[in-house]
């Protein structure tokens, strides 16, 4: 195993991490279709769902579709789980990042169940979400997710879900 190199140039570290994240996200067509992006600060991810007319579920209010909110939260949970596993492999030197990118789409966790708690109706604005891996075992993982819009303290929705981790 390759130990961390304290003298490795910062731009090289950043570009390695950013390209690993980009490979993970761009591998999922549905994410591209919804327009979901991920902002990275160290290992912390924030999912961003830019507003688009096709996300509307109630044209009268208007409000974002409950299914979109659920999809946004579920996606954030899945990417967070996959990213956490990738990060460990990458930082410990178990995988050479370029090889990981070339290996094709990463194996993603599968959703077992997902429960969304709708707290406020989604406004026709950008939405943000962060996931927290509550417990991640060899087989199963439990993840909690929060989504908000203008105000971090006023959640639009929260969710909790269980996932089957990819094997091998």
């Amino acid at each position: 195993m390759m130990p961390m190199d304290r003298r490795e140039p910062l731009d090289r570290i950043k570009s390695r991490r950013d390209s690993a994240l980009a490979a993970l996200v761009s591998g999922v067509p549905y994410l591209t279709w919804l327009g979901i992006r991920f902002d990275r600060r160290g290992d912390e991810l924030t999912a961003i769902l830019p507003y688009d007319e096709k996300l509307i579920g109630n044209p009268m209010l208007p409000a974002i579709h409950g299914g979109v909110t659920a999809a946004f939260l579920e996606t954030t949970a899945i990417i967070e789980l996959a990213w956490a596993a990738m990060w460990e492999d990458m930082e410990s030197g178990r995988t050479v990042p370029d090889a990981a990118v070339a290996a094709g789409p990463p194996r993603l966790p599968k959703t077992i169940d997902f429960t969304v708690d709708y707290l406020r109706s989604g406004l026709p604005r950008d939405a943000y979400a962060r996931a927290r891996v509550v417990r991640s075992g060899r087989r199963y993982a439990s993840v909690q997710v929060e989504a908000w819009q203008d105000n971090r303290a006023r959640l639009m929705a929260q969710a909790t879900g269980h996932f089957l981790m990819p094997q091998g």
Partner: protein
Amino acid sequence: MSETDQTRIAQQFIEAIPHARALGMRVDALGKGSATISMPWAEHLVGDPRSGVVHGGVVSALMDTSCGAAVMSHPSGPSSTATIDLRIDYMRSATKGQRITAKAECYHLTRTVAFVRAVALDEDEANPVAAATGAFTVER
């Protein structure tokens, strides 16, 4: 109003919802507190590129729409509804290329809350893809 008239009106209602239209949803049947809505498989909805299976979020959107339609079709005539909570159990992956159909039933309704359950099926109707249970608001 005949059942087909009601289904046609429901289809117009669905088509007025941008996200339902974007996913290509179709109202197959509408009863008294029940709704069947389906949508086609599409490349851009894939969640796992290794298998070509649609993302769970797509199933959520279909489940949520069919549950909402089931509430709206209840004979007590709610004027609108919103999801309070929705739980989805994913039993298996939907088969690549096959249409997904959600059947929702509003099994209990109070003055303010509707309780709904739904199943999602692909062409193998004996083995459900997913099941959902949810609580919805009832606006009078």
